[in-house]
């Protein structure tokens, strides 16, 4: 029968199909969660937004306008329907359409996070691999200790603290970079550095650990026995095997990057999503908060999906095992 044969012969396609199905389910779940989260917060945000002096009639009128007096289930159905059509509603705090607010701010956050992500991967992979190669088999204890201490220390410094410190030294004192805001290439340097440093340190450690593990494997001994040049030995034989675990953790890193972005944006008055997340959640500005949660959650889910696909192509065994 064609079915089973086809499935067995195209494990990659089955894998992609499965993963895609899982992504869709996850996105649907995210939709429900984003709705539930905001509505679960106790309190009346409309009253809070209008202030205690607003007459009750005005509060009720606004609630009715926002359709907040309808049963939750119906509200959710409306919400889901709107999201699918691309309507994200209006922020009742600022009276602006949510898509406009997000449309203006998202690119800024995306740029910051994107650059940071690229820098992190681009630096931590070579640094970590190099550290592993230099210190394998217990060589160079001094380098080992230095690497572990420096990366350990950097990884523990919170981004906001780093940001404040960097601003103090480089912007206020040395005046090399602008203090805050988004204004040209030089204004990216400090925020990106604050975001990156800790993650580079953390990921470099992981890369080194994974590389060391791989270097200890028997197949690396085989590669050495073939007397391949170092470049081939490390890049062709070692790298693909340690990439699997690294990318998995790298995908998780991007989720963490979003949290860091919130804090760093606050320090640098960056016109991105970070500066309105906490506010909109605390104010229960339903439309805006839901949209942000939906957006960020989807971003992470989709990135993880991409990472999974990438890993699937790299590590054939896992594909088959999962299928």
């Amino acid at each position: 029968m064609r079915g089973s044969g086809w499935t067995a012969n195209h494990p990659m396609l089955v894998f992609v199909a499965r993963r895609s199905a899982r992504l869709v389910v996850s996105l649907a779940l995210l939709l429900v969660l984003s709705f539930a989260m905001i509505h679960l917060i106790p309190g009346d945000p409309v009253r809070a937004a209008l202030g205690p002096r607003a007459p009750q009639s005005r509060v009720l009128a606004l609630r009715h306008d926002l359709r907040l007096d309808e049963p939750l289930a119906k509200q959710f159905v409306d919400y889901a329907g709107n999201v699918v059509r691309g309507h994200f509603g209006t922020s009742f705090v600022s009276n602006l359409p949510v898509s406009e607010i997000i449309g203006e701010r998202l690119p800024n956050t995306a740029r910051l996070a994107g650059i940071a992500f690229v820098v992190i991967l681009g630096l931590s992979l070579p640094i970590g691999m190099l550290a592993a190669i230099l210190t394998r088999d217990g060589r160079r204890r001094g380098t080992d200790l230095a690497f572990t201490s420096v990366t350990g220390g950097l990884a523990m410094v919170p981004e906001f603290l780093l940001g404040v410190g960097l601003v103090y030294v480089f912007a206020v004192t040395l005046k090399w970079f602008p203090v805050a805001g988004q204004s040209g290439v030089s204004s990216y340097v400090l925020p990106v550095t604050s975001l990156c440093l800790g993650s580079i340190a953390a990921l470099a450690r992981i890369v080194r650990a994974e590389t060391l593990k791989v270097l200890g494997e028997d197949y690396m001994r085989t590669a050495r026995s073939k007397r391949l040049p170092a470049r081939l030995e490390y890049l062709r034989h070692c790298l693909p095997n340690m990439l699997t675990a690294t990318l998995t953790l790298g995908g998780l890193l991007l989720g963490g990057l979003i949290g860091g972005t919130v804090l760093v944006e606050n320090v640098f008055a960056w016109p991105g999503l970070g500066t309105i997340i906490t506010q909109s959640v605390a104010q229960q500005d339903y439309a805006l908060a839901q949209a942000i949660i939906l957006l960020l959650g989807s971003a992470v889910l989709i990135i993880n999906f991409g990472v999974d696909l990438l890993l699937g192509t790299l590590d054939r065994r896992s594909t088959i095992r999962q299928a």
Binding site: I41, D137, G152, P158, S225, K226, P240, I258, L263, V281
Partner: protein, 635 residues
């Protein structure tokens, strides 16, 4: 994982500088957490409004806070709450996450997939948002922060547990257990959990560090610990507002957080390192005499000519020499076997010949010539070509020895590309040819496969084919059949002999299996405790071995006709570890013929007859009971 090994890991960890410093810091922090509030509590509470918001001074090294309280005292006292919260949050996360991640092992396929999907989803959810939301719903405060962070870190634990458990659960012995009908829960408890415990413990240690940071982040957003309680996070939040004016107020708690994080991380790292490396030598080794074998003259026309080969590893208690003064000469086309129990140093000898001993081991030899060239004297580039082409290694476990990420053909072809200067297509063609040589059916198709898509026997054939890529003069096979089942074993042995015959390459065959060695080889070296104790041709081996050890080995091989009512013949005792080799003959403790001379004086390898040399004070001359080895002979 035995208890001994666990405490060994901790002890080993504490011996490294990172581990020691981290453990010291952690101990200091724990002490601070316990006694800090008792010692400095009063000072931390002493309000002095007139002196509020001061910077660092001799009276107040970090300055004072909004009520004039000493900040240094508050930082020290806050240790308890900070650590407690971080530990609690991590525990909550672990308690929720680890069972969650272990569930797939217990559930059926459907259930497992559902749980896996839930973990994937939760891991992806942006944790900061979840934390903010939880804190807002539960009301700001320490309890909410702990719960929020615990819930947020649970998916990470679950994911890790899931990954580890899956890799263990996918292993052969667990599959075997399942086939035998062992219930899933038992599999989980007895097989999966003990093996994932170590990485999980490491992760717990690391997570505490991150929990500290996260709680500080929550406090930065105002959702963590609330007054009148205070932790480092809250102190940091207060101090950050003043960082430009009185930096001490922020630096104090920041440094505390960093130190605590470093301590947890450092210890976790050291534990992980210690658990994965060889256990450190504990006893003081007796210094073995470095071998000085009677100098043989260089052998002409030898493919391999090595004399006085020694491998030494440095340990805290002095160097350990698992290979002591081994000499060996192999002529073209010869098949030589090296046999001995585990720990006799035979595998290391093979690695040493191929210059593959891993650091920090050091190889030394009086003479090491391959294909007539002194390996140590020639320039590096030449040495690489020599070793890469003239010497072929066949390792024991072909599954682990082939790179899982590369196709089989590529792994073969690159030898020709690198050493032969061949182009890709040419090299691939050669690779397919070699695969055909080792009797792999449909070699063109197989070359495009990945190693895990081949059977065990085919993988070993591929390894052999890989070694043949460079037209080797010498093939060193280290237990090439021990990982294969018996029928495949025979095929590989036949293949090796054929290859040797057809290409004229010499073969060094290393094994603990006397029967296989006797079947395949022309000449045999018997190793014990890092030395060659007897060297003889197979015919003599099967008729009249001289060394008591060789005899004992032969006697211990069961045959089809062995009397089943008698216990299996074994050699009482066990071989010495490399660091506990006694003075005198290493076999003396187990030898029925040993006397005082044996125990004090080390016998050297002496020629007893043409083609037979033994290192013994009492070499036996009479014919030996052969045991189950069919005297097939070879050659």
């Amino acid at each position: 994982m035995t208890r001994g090994r666990r405490s060994g890991a901790l002890g080993a960890a504490l011996r490294t500088p990172t581990g020691a410093i981290a453990a010291l810091l952690l101990a200091a922090l724990l002490v601070l957490a316990l006694v800090g509030p008792l010692i400095w509590g009063h000072e931390a509470r002493a309000i002095d409004v007139a002196n509020m918001l001061q910077g660092g001074s001799s009276a107040h090294p970090l300055g004072t806070d909004n009520l004039g309280r000493d900040l240094l005292a508050r930082v020290l006292v806050a240790c308890r709450l900070s650590l407690a919260l971080a530990v609690l949050a991590t525990l909550v996360g672990a308690v929720i996450g680890i069972p969650w991640g272990a569930l797939p092992v217990v559930l059926g396929r459907r259930g497992a997939r559902f749980v896996n999907a839930s973990i994937d989803f939760s891991v992806a959810f942006p944790s900061l948002l979840l934390a903010i939301f939880l804190a807002v719903v539960l009301g700001a405060g320490a309890l909410a922060a702990v719960l929020a962070l615990g819930l947020v870190s649970a998916p990470a634990f679950a994911r890790l547990t899931q990954t580890l458990a899956a890799s263990v659960a996918g292993s052969d012995y667990v599959a075997a257990a399942r086939v035998l009908g062992v219930p899933r829960s038992r599999v989980l408890a007895r097989h999966v959990l003990p093996n994932v415990a170590e990485p999980l413990i490491l992760n717990v240690t690391l997570t505490v560090g991150y929990a500290l940071l996260s709680i500080a982040g929550l406090s930065f957003l105002g959702l963590g610990v609330q007054p009148p309680d205070y932790d480092w996070g809250r102190l940091l939040q207060d101090g950050l507002q003043r960082i430009y004016v009185t930096p001490g107020a922020a630096l104090g708690p920041a440094v505390a957080i960093v130190i605590a994080g470093l301590a947890f991380n450092g210890l976790g790292e050291a534990l992980a390192r210690a658990a994965s490396t060889r256990p450190a030598v504990r006893k003081r080794p007796r210094r073995g005499t470095a071998a000085t074998v009677a100098d043989g003259a260089p052998v002409e026309d030898a493919v391999l000519d090595v004399a006085g080969l020694t491998v030494a590893f440095p340990t805290p208690d002095g160097p350990v020499t698992p290979v002591r003064g081994v000499s060996l000469a192999v002529g073209p086309g010869e098949i030589v076997g090296i046999v001995g129990e585990s720990g006799s140093g035979k595998s290391l000898t093979a690695l040493a010949i191929a210059q593959l001993v891993p650091a920090p081991g050091e190889t030394a030899a009086q003479r090491l010539r391959i294909a007539g060239r002194d390996v140590r004297a020639i320039p590096a580039a030449e040495r690489r070509r020599l070793l890469g082409t003239s010497v072929a290694m066949v390792f024991q476990d072909p599954t682990a020895s082939l790179n899982p990420a590369l196709r089989v053909g590529r792994q073969l072809a690159e030898v020709a590309e690198v050493h032969g200067g061949a182009r890709r297509s040419e090299a691939m063609r050669m690779a397919v040819e070699r695969l055909r040589t080792v009797r792999i059916p449909a070699p063109e198709r197989r070359a495009r496969r990945f190693p895990h898509e081949l059977s065990g026997g085919m993988r070993q054939r591929a390894m052999i084919a890989m070694g043949l890529m460079g037209s080797p003069r010498l093939i060193i096979a280290d237990e090439p059949t021990s990982a294969l089942d018996v029928t495949v074993q025979q095929q590989i042995l036949r293949l090796l002999r054929q290859v040797s015959d057809e290409t004229g390459a010499a073969l060094i065959f290393i094994s603990h299996d006397m029967a296989v060695v006797a079947e395949l080889c022309q000449r045999v070296l018997v190793m014990y405790a890092g030395r060659v104790v007897e060297e003889l041709d197979v015919a003599t081996l099967l008729s009249a071995p001289a060394h008591p050890y060789t005899r004992a080995l032969l006697a211990s091989v069961p045959e089809m006709a062995t009397d089943r009512d008698q216990p299996l013949a074994t050699i009482p005792g066990r071989p010495p570890e490399p660091h506990e080799v006694p003075e005198g003959c290493p076999f003396a403790p187990r030898c029925p013929l040993a006397d005082d001379r044996c125990r004090t004086q080390l016998p050297m390898l002496r020629e007893l007859a043409p083609g037979q040399a033994a290192a013994c004070w009492h070499p036996q001359a009479d014919p030996a009971p052969v045991g189950g080895i069919a005297a097939e002979g070879c050659g």
